[in-house]
């Protein structure tokens, strides 16, 4: 992580240096006073140092790889700048003090950009030593006055610059690292459709983002009272226990109870922390004092699981910004889990709707079996109700059809012949019928039928 960033910075500084070389060459060649004897060659040497140094760095950059190479190049970069600035400012001002101040202003800045806070402070320490040696040498060789306050004042200013610039660079860098990690996690969560694989990939990202020994994600399945570890990643260490598949009951761990109750991160100082509970303490290795940060996964103010981050170093605590980053990541994961659950639910819903549809066509084709809707019928929602009602209706229809079929098989046309004959007699013997018959006969004769 560090090497690519350092190399990028070395390259940026080298590009700036090309401009500086041109600018310095113009400056020394257009100086408004005649140079004192021997000074101009030093000016040329200074530009030469910049030119040769920068060319060397530029060439080396092409094949630089790995942490050691990038550190060497960054160091070379600081050195070239230091030497060139001392020489250039000196030949331009003929004043060693100004040259020293220039170094104090510029070198810690470059060093902070390249090596962050710690590197900037180390650079200042080296400069302080060099400056102190120069002062002592002046005192011994030239009987100059030795003023410790002069050393402490000048170097103090340098340290202040180094501290500010270093802190700024370090802060930005760590923020950038977090953002990159977060970005990768977001991408992983978005790209991976299979929840288990997504969680696995996220735990591996968490390892590098938080620089921890192990990172795990546990879920509290709906209706369950325990955190089940679904995915875990850890640094290569033989003593790191395998977590996936483990269950930590909420009831058995005061820390998990706190997590669910307050929906806020919980930090355990180690296995000996009484809030860990027996199950959790068992996998945290007593006596090591490695802290465990537990961050809740929240969906609509319900805790559906947790991220568990175990510190790499004993005694390490998680800084507020790290905790807040972990909470952001937890939000992402919770969203992904919720999406996956909703997706699964939707797929299941669609599948069950198609079962009801299939049942409808089975009813039509006479192949319906009532138990084909048993599973859908167990749902507690509207679809379940629909399936149950459908099932009941289909059963009734089937029963009716069967009844009918039985009747068809024995379709009997039962006629009470005596009663029918009596009715026929009643009609045909009525006066009207007699008249009608007569009339009809007449009409038939009339029409020749």
């Amino acid at each position: 992580m560090e090497a690519p960033r350092q190399l990028r910075t070395v390259r940026t500084l080298a590009t700036v240096r090309w401009i500086a070389i041109v600018w310095a060459a113009i400056q020394i060649s257009t100086y408004y006073l005649p140079y004192p004897p021997g000074v101009f060659p030093w000016a040329v040497v200074a530009v030469g140092v910049l030119l040769v140094g920068n060319t060397g760095i530029w060439l080396a950059l092409r094949r630089a790889e790995g942490a050691a190479a990038s550190r060497r190049l960054a160091l070379a970069s600081v050195l070239v700048d230091g030497i060139a600035i001392v020489l250039l400012v000196f030949v331009y001002t003929f004043d060693p003090d100004t040259a020293i101040w220039a170094v104090l202003y510029i070198v810690p800045l470059g060093s902070a950009v390249l090596f962050l806070l710690r590197g900037a402070l180390w650079t200042m320490a080296v400069i302080t030593v060099l400056y102190a040696v120069r002062e002592v040498y002046g005192y011994l060789a030239f009987d100059n006055e030795l003023l410790p306050v002069s050393i402490s004042f000048r170097m103090g200013v340098g340290f202040i610059i180094a501290a500010f610039a270093g802190a700024m660079a370090s802060g930005l860098e760590s923020r950038l690292r977090e953002l990159r990690g977060l970005n990768r996690i977001t991408q992983t969560v978005a790209d991976e459709r299979e929840l288990h694989r997504a969680l696995g990939a996220v735990t591996s990202e968490l390892l590098s983002v938080f620089d921890v020994r192990s990172a795990a994600i546990g879920l509290i399945p709906p209706g369950s009272e325990a955190v089940s570890v679904m995915a875990e990643s850890s640094v290569d260490a033989p003593d790191v226990p395998e977590l996936p598949g483990l269950r930590f009951t909420v009831e058995g761990s005061p820390a998990l109870q706190e997590l669910v109750r307050d929906a806020a991160p919980v930090f355990l100082t180690g296995a000996d922390d009484p809030r860990a509970g027996q199950e959790m303490a068992a996998v945290m290795r007593p006596g090591e004092g490695r802290g465990l940060l537990i961050v809740p996964l929240q969906v609509r103010s319900e805790t559906i699981g947790a991220i568990l981050l175990q510190a790499a170093d004993p005694g390490r605590e998680f800084k507020p910004n790290e905790v807040s980053l972990a909470e952001t990541v937890a939000g992402q994961i919770a969203g992904a889990i919720q999406n996956a659950r909703l997706f699964d639910e939707m797929v299941e819903y669609v599948e069950q709707v198609s079962r009801v549809t299939a049942a409808a066509s089975a009813v039509e084709s006479g192949t319906f079996t009532a138990d084909s809707l048993d599973q859908v019928g167990r749902r507690s929602d509207a679809l379940g109700q629909l399936a149950r009602v459908f099932q009941a209706m289909a059963k009734e229809v089937a029963a009716r059809e069967q009844r009918l079929r039985r009747e068809v098989q024995q379709l009997r046309i039962e006629i009470d012949e005596t009663r029918a004959a009596r009715q026929v007699e009643e009609i045909t013997e009525s006066d009207y019928f007699q008249r009608l018959q007569q009339k009809i006969d007449e009409l038939r004769i009339e029409t020749g039928r």
């Binding site: 059809e401 009918l404 079929r405 068809v408 379709l411 046309i413 039962e414 006629i415 009470d416 012949e417 009663r419 029918a420 004959a421 009715q423 026929v424 009609i427 045909t428 009207y432 019928f433 009608l436 018959q437 009339k439 009809i440 009409l443 029409t447 039928r449």
Partner: protein, 246 residues
């Protein structure tokens, strides 16, 4: 020729069968007139899309000597048919229904009207949509017919009444009589049903019509055979028409 479509019980599909038989005959290029002799409860005009408010002249007007029978005949030929269909509707005005039931009408006049209509309109068939049961008007309609179709459903409720109707029709010496089994549940074996019905009544069964959800959906929205010319039901209506006009 005069054809009566009849059933002992109401709601067996008389009007629908009448309208469809008329339509398939007209589709074959024949001239057909449909007379709603169900003067007590007229309804077939709905199937032909006739709004009685918009027409002048009903069977009642003819029977009361208000109009000639031809003036009561309305051309309701559906578009695109080579033949012609006329409808002589019965009045749906409550007053008219009450009057015709109370006073009755002249049998001779009705018969003469039918003859006149057949001649005037060069009809191939005059179809009578009758009132269910065996009332006097119905007996008259049956008596005047050359061919009679009696509808029944495969339901115990219909069996005995149909037996009585068949027997009475025989006494009236209707030249051609067929049975039509309507609204038969689809799971019934139609040939089996036909055989049983023919044996029970000793009468030809012109068709066994299956229950059709399409028909139920159409309800009184139009004439099924025209909307579904290739449907199995339409084929069966043709079969009934052939049996009646042969």
């Amino acid at each position: 020729m005069i054809i009566s479509i009849h059933s002992f019980r109401g709601g067996t599909g008389k009007s629908n069968t009448t309208a469809n038989v008329a339509a398939v005959l007209a589709a074959e290029g024949r001239h057909v007139a449909v007379v709603d002799t169900d003067v007590q409860s007229p309804g077939i005009h709905v199937l032909f899309g006739v709004d009685q408010d918009g027409i002048d002249g009903t069977l009642n007007d003819y029977l009361w000597n208000k109009r000639s029978i031809k003036d009561a005949a309305h051309d309701v030929t559906p578009k695109g048919l080579p033949g012609r269909v006329w409808l002589i509707p019965a009045s749906i005005r409550p007053h008219d229904i009450a009057r015709v039931m109370h006073e009755g009408y002249d049998v001779g006049l009705l018969n003469a009207g039918f003859r006149e209509l057949i001649q005037e309109l060069s009809l191939d068939a005059l179809i009578l949509d009758t009132h269910p049961g065996l009332g006097e008007e119905t007996l008259l309609s049956i008596a005047m017919s050359n061919a009679l179709a009696i509808l029944l459903r495969p339901d115990q409720q219909d069996f005995e009444g149909t037996k009585v109707t068949v027997s009475v029709a025989r006494k009236l010496r209707v030249p051609k009589m067929v049975l039509v089994v309507n609204n038969t549940p689809t799971m019934f074996d139609r040939d089996e049903v036909r055989g049983r019905v023919e044996r029970a009544y000793d009468c030809e069964v012109a068709a066994v019509l299956p229950h059709s959800s399409e028909m139920m959906e159409l309800s009184s929205g139009g004439i099924f055979a025209l909307a579904n010319p290739d449907h199995v039901l339409t084929g069966l209506y043709r079969q009934i028409a052939r049996a009646l006009v042969s």
